[in-house]
Amino acid sequence: MATGQASTKPPDANEYGGDEISALVLDPGYSTTRAGFAGEDVPKSIVPSYYGLIPSESTPKHTKQLFGDNSINIPLPRISISNVMSKDGTVEDWDTAAKLWEYAITSRLTNTKPTPLVSNGLNDPNEDITEDITMEGVEEQEKPLGENPLLMTESGWNAGKDREKGIEIAMENWGCPAFWLARNGVLAAFASGKPTALVIDIGASTISITPVHDGLILKKGVTRSPLAGNFVSNQLRLLFSSSQPPIPITPHYLITSKTPVDAGAPAQATYRAFAPGTEPHPSFRHFQEERVLTEFKESVVNVWTGPGRLGGHSAQGGTNMDAARQHPGKPFEMPDGWNQMFPALDRYRAIEGIFDHKMALSDANNPPPSPGQTVTALISSSLSQVDVDLRPHLLGNIVITGASSWYAGFTDRLQQELQAAYPGVRVRMVASGQMVERKFGSWIGGSILASLGTFHQLWISKKEYDEHGSGIVEKRCK
C-alpha cells in the first residue's frame, strides 16, 4: 500500500469522505470472480470467471454471452465456454470482463436504485417523506455503482497499461466515486493479520509467491508458475488416460441416468444424445469436466507427507513409492457410475509434481514442468530477490491461500521441504482451517482494508481521476 505520500498529506476538501457508503471489493481470479461489500467476512457474489457463448443462427459473428452459474452449466445448443482471465492470472478480455464483473456486482449486491420516494407514485402523496431520501445527480444514478467506492485486486505481476484498465471501467462505465487497486498477495497477508509475510497463493491458473514487507509488496521477489489447480486437473487427466484401460471422464450433463456397477466394471448409463448441430462445444465439456475433477481432488487426492519426496528413498532403504503402495486407496465414482478404488500411489502422484518436477506426468500436450517451477523452487528464487535480513522473517510468516492448497497434507509437506532447504531458520506457516477463508483470502483482506476508517484517505477520488487520468493508479497504488 502506498501509504507514504498519502497519509502525510492532510485530507483535502475534495477527498472522498465515504464512511457511510459501503465500499465494494472485487477480486477476479481464474476460476471465480469474488465480489462483496467491504466489512463482510465472505463475498456475497461468487461468479465463475468462465462465461458462455451462444453463436447466433443467422449471423455467425454475433454471439450471445451468458454469465453466472445458472446459465453456463446448461448444455444449450452449441454453447461454448471461455474465460475472461488469461492462463497467467491476469485479465485477458477486458470488455467481457467488465460485463462479467458488472453482472457479479449488480446481480447480488447493488441494483438500479428505486426512484426517490417523493416521486415514486405512492398512492398517498401526503405522507411526509424525509428529505434525505431524494437523491441528486440523476445521471450518476443511472450508472450501476454511482455510490460505491470500489477496491479491486490484481495479481502481483500485473503491469503497464493493464493497471489502468480497472480504474477506467470503474470510473467511466460504472460511475464509481472512488477507486483503489490492491495486489491480491498483499491482501491475503492482510487477511491473516500479517504485515510482513511470504504469501503462497495456489489458485487455478497460477501458483505465486509474494513477499510482503510492512504491508508493501516487494515486487522483484514475486515469482510464479502454472503448477496450480489446472495443472493438477491435467495431471488427473493424464493419470486417467494412461490407466489400463483408460478411464473416461464423462461429465454429469452427458448422463441421464446411471446404474450401479461393480468396481472396475464398465459403466452402465444412459447417455444424453444431442441432435446433430446442437452439440455443445468441446470447451463446454472441458468446463464440466472440471467439476468432476474438483470433486476428485476434494475426495481422493492427497499430498505425500514424507519423510522425503515420493520419488525418494526411505531411511530403511526402500523406495517411498513402495511404501506408498501400502497405503489405503480411496474409491471414486464417475458421473456415469464407473467406480474404482484409487490406489494411494495415484492419489499422491497426481499432485507430487507441484513439489517435485520429476514426478509430474506428461505427454505431448502437457510438457513436463521445469525444475524452477515447483513450489519450493519458486520460494527459493523469491527469497533470493529480497534482503538477506528479511528472509528469516518471511520464512517465519508464510501465509498459504488459494483453494488448490486445500489438499490434505499440503502444509505439512511444504513445511518439511522448506525446513530441509533452510535448516537454520524457523519456518512457520499460517493456513486457515476454514475453507472459505482459505479460498477467499485476498477478497477478505480487501474487505478488511476497505472498511478501515483510516483507509478513506487513500481512495483515488473521481475528481482526482478526472484531473490526472488513469495514470494516477501507477503513482498511487504501488
Binding site: I74, S107, N120, G121, H252, S432, G433
Partner: protein, 643 residues
C-alpha cells in the same frame, strides 16, 4: 397492480369504464405473491387480494376484480423490477390488513434481492408504515423455521423460477446458491404442456388447468409410460387388475407391460414419438367413442361460426350414445390408475365472449356440460373406481343449475365460462420434460458440492426440502438416478489393507490453525493501516451470524425439540456425496398445513419466526431492526440484523 389514471399511481384492481367490453382472461388481480409478508405477532395472513370486492358505486367507473388486463407485476423471477408498483402493492396489503399502529413487520426476502434492495425496502417500511420493528428474513431460512430444522437444502419451485439454497446451522450459504434459476417454475411446466399439445388447439389457460388437474402427473424417471394396448391387457386379466387396484403398482401392471413387450419409455425422452402416437389416438377417440374432439372444440373457439353448428349437433347426438356406450369403457378405464392409462379425460373451464355463446344458443352449452363430473380435485394415482353413471346424472343436474346461475352472472359482465372436457394422452406426463428437472437437479448438485464444509454435505443431501406440487418423486428420482454414489464394491478390499493407517480427509484440519491474534511485532515503519487491521480490533468485520446463531439456538430450544439429525453417519469410505438422498420430514405440529401441503412453508415459517423474533427474543439477539436503530444507522443498518 394496475397503473392508475395518474402516472405512477396504482390500483389494486382493474378499473374501467362502465360500458366495458370484453375482458379476455381471469385470474387473481395482484399477480404472483412472491414476497410473503407477515404482519404483527405471527397471526396475520397476507391475503391482500381479498380487498378487491368492496367498491363504491361510481357512475362512470367500476372495478373488475377478475381482469388482469394491463396488470403490472412488480416482481419477476423474484426480482423487484418495478419499485413504485412494488411499494404500492405493499401499501395495499398493509392497508387491507389495517394492522394496529405499533405492529412490527417481517418481510421474507427473495434470494435475488440485493443488499441495496434490502436497504431500499427497509427505508420504505420504516418511513411509510412507521413500524417499530422490522425483520427481513431470507426465504430459505423461513422455510427452515417451518420445518424446525437448522440444516436443509431448500428447493423452492415458484411461478417462473426456482431457488436452491443450502442452509446449515441456520446460516444461509451464498456459495453455490442457485438463485432464481430461470424458466424452472410451474409456469415453465405449463409452457411445456402448451408446446406439446398447443398445436391441438389447447390454449395456455387450458394447459394451466390441465397442469393442475389430477391427470397431469410427473412420473419418476424410469417409470414405464402406459402403452396403447394397456387397457385391453388389463381387462383380459381382471384378477390382476383387482388385486393391484389399491396400490397401483402391483405385478399385474408390470406383467401386462411385459406381455405386450412395451418398450420402457421415460418421460422427457422420445417426446416426438409420443406425439405421433397421440395424433392417432385422438382420431380414434373421435371415431370410436364420440368423445368430444378437443382440437375441434378449441379450434372452433377461434372460428366461432363453425363451432355454432357442426360441433353442437355432434355433441348433442353423441351425448346420449356416450353415456351408455362409455359407461363400461369408463368403468374399466377408471379401474386403472391414471399413470397406467394412455389417455385420460379432464374437465376445464373456458372463458368465451358472450356474443359467441348467444349465437350458439343455450342448448349447446348444456349438451357440452352434460358429462361434467364436478370441480376437478387434485388427486393422485390410483384413482378410485367409481360408479360413474349415478354420479354423472346427479352432478350434471347440479352443475347445470350452477352453470345457469353462473351464466346469468356472467351475462352481466360480458363473458361466460363454459365447462368442457377433453382427452389428453401421454403428454400429460411430460410437463417437466423440457429439462426443468434436469436443471433443478443439477443446481442442487452444484449447490451442495459448493458447500465449503465438505463434512456437512451428507447432511445437506439428507435434508432436502422441496416446495412445489407434483414433481417431488420425479425430482428425487432424477437426483437418485443421476447423482447417487453407490456403495462401491471396491471398498470391500479396504479391510484387507493395514487399518492402522488412517487416511486424512481434505478438511484442512491437519493444517495449522489461523492466527487471529498475531504477535504484535511491528517495526518502526509499519503501515498504520495494517496495524489497525492486525490488532484484530476491527469492528467493521463483525463475525456475522454469531449473535444470530445464538438467537437461533435459543429459539430452537424454546420452540421445538432439537431436531434429531442423523448422528450415526453411514460408515462409508467414500468422501464423495451423496451416498443417500432424503426428503426432510414434514413437521406435524401444524396439522392444518398438512392438507394444503407445505408449498407455503416459507410463510408458515415466517409466522413462527416472527413470534420468536419479536415476542420471545425481544431483540436480544438482534433478530430485527428497531425504530431506534433505524434512526441511528439508517437503512444500511439492516445488514446487521437481517436474517
Amino acid at each position: 397492480m394496475f397503473p392508475a389514471e395518474k402516472k405512477g399511481e396504482w390500483e389494486a384492481t382493474k378499473i374501467r369504464e362502465r360500458k366495458a367490453t370484453n375482458t379476455p382472461n381471469k385470474t387473481e388481480a395482484n399477480g404472483q405473491a412472491d414476497a410473503d409478508i407477515t404482519m404483527g405477532e405471527a397471526n396475520g395472513t397476507s391475503d391482500g387480494q381479498a380487498a378487491a370486492e368492496d367498491q363504491e358505486d361510481d357512475p362512470k367507473f367500476e372495478e373488475d376484480p377478475t381482469s388482469e388486463e394491463g396488470a403490472v407485476y412488480p416482481l419477476q423471477d423474484g426480482r423487484i423490477v418495478d419499485w413504485s408498483c412494488f411499494f404500492a402493492l405493499l401499501t395495499h396489503i398493509y392497508n387491507t390488513m389495517g394492522p394496529p399502529f405499533h405492529t412490527p413487520i417481517l418481510v421474507i426476502s427473495q434470494p435475488t434481492w440485493t443488499a441495496q434492495d434490502h436497504e431500499s425496502l427497509t427505508q420504505f417500511i420504516f418511513e411509510k408504515f412507521k413500524t417499530p420493528a422490522f425483520c427481513l428474513m431470507d426465504s430459505a431460512l423461513a422455510v427452515c423455521y417451518a420445518y424446525a430444522t437448522p440444516t436443509a437444502t431448500v428447493v423452492d419451485v415458484g411461478y417462473t423460477k426456482c431457488d436452491v439454497t443450502a442452509v446449515n446451522d441456520f446460516l444461509v450459504s451464498d456459495l453455490g446458491r442457485g438463485s432464481a434459476l430461470p424458466r424452472c417454475g410451474g409456469e415453465a411446466m405449463t409452457q411445456r404442456l402448451h408446446d406439446l399439445i398447443g398445436g391441438k388447439g389447447f390454449t395456455n389457460d387450458v394447459c394451466e388447468q390441465l397442469k393442475k388437474s389430477p391427470i397431469c402427473e410427473i412420473l419418476p424417471p424410469g417409470t414405464d409410460m402406459p402403452a396403447e394396448a394397456e387397457a385391453n391387457a388389463h381387462v383380459s386379466n381382471p384378477a390382476a387388475a383387482a388385486s393391484t387396484g389399491a396400490s397401483g403398482s402391483g405385478a399385474g401392471q408390470r406383467g401386462s407391460l411385459a406381455a405386450q413387450g412395451g418398450a420402457a419409455r421415460g418421460p422427457g425422452i422420445n417426446t416426438e414419438v409420443g406425439d405421433a402416437d397421440e395424433d392417432r389416438e385422438f382420431k380414434e377417440g373421435e371415431d370410436d367413442e364420440g368423445v368430444l374432439d378437443v382440437a375441434a372444440i378449441v379450434a372452433s373457439g377461434k372460428t366461432s361460426e363453425f363451432l355454432a353448428k357442426k360441433e353442437r349437433e355432434k355433441a348433442a347426438k353423441a351425448a346420449a350414445k356416450k353415456d351408455a356406450a362409455d359407461a363400461a369403457a369408463v368403468a374399466k378405464e377408471r379401474s386403472l390408475p391414471n399413470s397406467k392409462r394412455v389417455k385420460a379425460t379432464f374437465h376445464y373451464h373456458e372463458r368465451r365472449p358472450l356474443e359467441e355463446l348467444n349465437m350458439n344458443g343455450k342448448r349447446a352449452m348444456d349438451g357440452e356440460t352434460g358429462q361434467d363430473g364436478g370441480e376437478p380435485k387434485r388427486q393422485k394415482t390410483p384413482e378410485p373406481g367409481v360408479d360413474s353413471g349415478a354420479q354423472t346424472t346427479e352432478n350434471a343436474a347440479a352443475t347445470r343449475r350452477e352453470e345457469r346461475k353462473e351464466e346469468r352472472r356472467r351475462n352481466r359482465e360480458g363473458t361466460a365460462f363454459i365447462r368442457k372436457s377433453a382427452d389428453v394422452g401421454l403428454e400429460r406426463f411430460q410437463a417437466a420434460s423440457g429439462g426443468i428437472l434436469d436443471q433443478i437437479a443439477d443446481a442442487i448438485h452444484r449447490c451442495i458440492l459448493s458447500y465449503p464444509d465438505i463434512s456437512k454435505r451428507s447432511d445437506l443431501w439428507d435434508s432436502l426440502i422441496i416446495l412445489g406440487n407434483g414433481f417431488k418423486e420425479a425430482l428425487i428420482g432424477t437426483l437418485n438416478s443421476r447423482y447417487l454414489i453407490s456403495p462401491s464394491s471396491a471398498t470391500i478390499f479396504t479391510s484387507e489393507l493395514p487399518s492402522n493407517f488412517t487416511t486424512p480427509v481434505a478438511t484442512g484440519a491437519n493444517t495449522p490453525q489461523p492466527q487471529h491474534h498475531p504477535p504484535s511485532h511491528h517495526g518502526p515503519g509499519v503501515n498504520p493501516l495494517l496495524l489497525a487491521a492486525t490488532t484484530a480490533s476491527n469492528p467493521n468485520l463483525a463475525p456475522p451470524g454469531q449473535s444470530q446463531q445464538q438467537l437461533h439456538q435459543q429459539l430452537q430450544l424454546q420452540q421445538y425439540h432439537q431436531q434429531q439429525l442423523q448422528q450415526t453417519h453411514q460408515h462409508s469410505s467414500h468422501a464423495q456425496t451423496p451416498t443417500s438422498i432424503k426428503l426432510l420430514k414434514m413437521p406435524d405440529y401444524f396439522p392444518e398445513w398438512k392438507e394444503v401441503g407445505m408449498e407455503e412453508a416459507g410463510f408458515l415459517g415466517a409466522q413462527v419466526a416472527a413470534k420468536v423474533v419479536f415476542v420471545v427474543d425481544q431483540g436480544i439477539s438482534k433478530g430485527f431492526m428497531s425504530r431506534t436503530e433505524y434512526n441511528e444507522l439508517g437503512p444500511q443498518g439492516i445488514h446487521e440484523s437481517c436474517l
